[in-house]
Symmetry: C2
Subunit: 313 residues, 2 copies
């Protein structure tokens, strides 16, 4: 499957971590399998946090093991620290996403440590990963929360984003994620930040993670695309929001993002109609969940056709 | 007031034309005055259609007259034909917006005539306007509905958009409006279409009118901005939708558009906080109306500051 853009579902982590009702393991897996079947290449399936902190992820081991049996799916998980990473190493998960904040205040509120201490933790994670034989070693991804603004500190200097980008790269990140944690960004800032990050990253993939808090989510995705970003996080129905960041709301809606990208001639490898069908799978398990989204309500345009190689070329 | 981008409120026409409950004249005027007070430079205040077709606009004369007394406000109205134009001429309205469709099928369904006949009507409107002394003559604006896709015909060839753009220009249009009537567009198409139209338009202002039916509204606005478009229609709370185009939903949300533009360093001349306050004015009159919008719910980012001349330069 050739893809021009790689989408990554984060609803099973970012989307449900704020929900106090435990989502049954089998319901999570139904969602994961249905979305993988629609062509989703990568899913962040859980978080290796202590279950007493986030009981929603008490079944992280079972979810990871079952997800790893889904053929062709890249299985990722969030990790808060080296202990989480070790859980991932044992499970053989494909990718570990570690996130620290560019905002010192947000980092303190979120993980109760300084940015320097978080960076030190990331270095330990990379060092531990490198002890694993390369064919079994997970991808270690470093993320920079609040890179596009912080609800505590307001604007974040681009020089600060660059500084921590370089720090993560020097620490050995295989990939980067740049999130707009609280949905502050508009397209002009997105271009500035991603151009600056991409200039440092070289061949290291850089993913964008937008929240649609202020309506600019898809505009920001389009702006990041123009800078060369080709990896995007989104969640089914726009589920999600960081419980530790006041004013944050959902991720960008996966269905709408895929629709927009395919309309632009960019192949996601995802079957948009099957993807829209995953909403039914999820709402059957979670009838109280509010799924946002425009394309599922409005329907595909008459004459719509998914992107083809020739269109994207 | 220097503006980098000119926003035009269309909620009082596009937004309420589908509502069967008559909005009282005084309620319309309260909305118009409040929005003008927030800095809105132009409002399409009504439509000169026969009241038996759209009773919502039975008070078009009163609304126009009172709007013309709002200092600094450019007052526009939609016209379906020469009869509507003559009502506008008598009232001394500042601008008349005539819309035909690039899609022959949509034009037939919408106004029950061919595109050629619509163009002929536009020529008569321009000819009549030119009999008015220039200092009292309204701006005559030609619009091309379905330019970005049609729910009857599907994709619209860009060559067709160019053909009818040239026809409107040759007929004497002072300005153009290019609407995504049914919300089919994604940013790539937006850029192609607006680049093609701008290439023909020369110094004639070209406005974009997007519907957010499939979530791409603000992304499309940002894409059009990049081609050089600086005039945009939107409606308070995203009200609206073409009752003659199945599947069309609301316009882009004015508050979110203004927020995004100001965040990008582009001056709209609109006070975003006052604009958000207009929602209260409108919902007081129309408590059953559903107003969408993200920025009014999420609030402005910490540290947000409106665009300044130096930022935009």
């Amino acid at each position: 499957m050739e893809r021009d853009v790689v989408m990554r579902e984060v609803g099973l982590r970012d989307g449900i971590q704020g929900i106090t009702d435990f989502v049954e393991t089998e319901d999570k897996l139904r969602w994961i399998r249905a979305e993988a079947d629609a062509g989703m290449p990568e899913i962040e399936v859980t978080s290796y946090v202590p279950p007493k902190l986030l009981p929603q992820f008490a079944d992280a081991e079972a979810v990871t093991r079952e997800s790893l049996s889904v053929v062709g799916l890249k299985v990722a998980a969030l990790i808060p620290n080296i202990k989480g990473a070790q859980r991932g190493f044992e499970l053989g998960v494909h990718k570990l996403n570690f996130v620290m904040s560019v905002s010192e205040t947000h980092n303190q509120k979120n993980v109760r440590r300084s940015r320097e201490t978080s960076l030190e933790e990331f270095r330990s994670i990379v060092a531990s990963a490198r002890e694993i034989p390369s064919h079994k070693r997970p991808v270690i991804c470093g993320g920079l929360a609040t890179a596009l603004g912080c609800s505590y500190e307001g604007k974040i200097e681009i020089s600060e984003v660059v500084r921590w980008t370089v720090a993560l790269l020097e620490a050995g990140a295989d990939e980067l994620i740049i999130p707009d944690t609280v949905g502050y960004a508009a397209p002009a800032l997105v271009k500035q930040v991603f151009r600056a990050v991409l200039a440092e990253a070289g061949d290291i993939p850089v993913a964008a993670h937008f929240h649609d808090t202020r309506g600019t989510g898809l505009a920001n995705l389009a702006a990041a695309l123009e800078t060369g970003v080709r990896h995007f996080d989104a969640s089914l129905g726009g589920m999600g929001g960081c419980p530790f960041a006041p004013g944050a709301s959902g991720n960008i809606v996966m269905e709408d993002a895929v629709y927009m990208l395919e309309s632009m001639g960019l192949r996601t490898g995802i079957d948009i109609e099957k993807l829209i069908g995953v909403r039914d799978v999820v709402t059957k398990s979670l009838p109280n969940l509010r799924l946002d989204g425009a394309i599922s309500r409005a329907g595909l345009p008459r004459g719509f056709s998914p992107a083809t190689a020739s269109a994207a070329a």
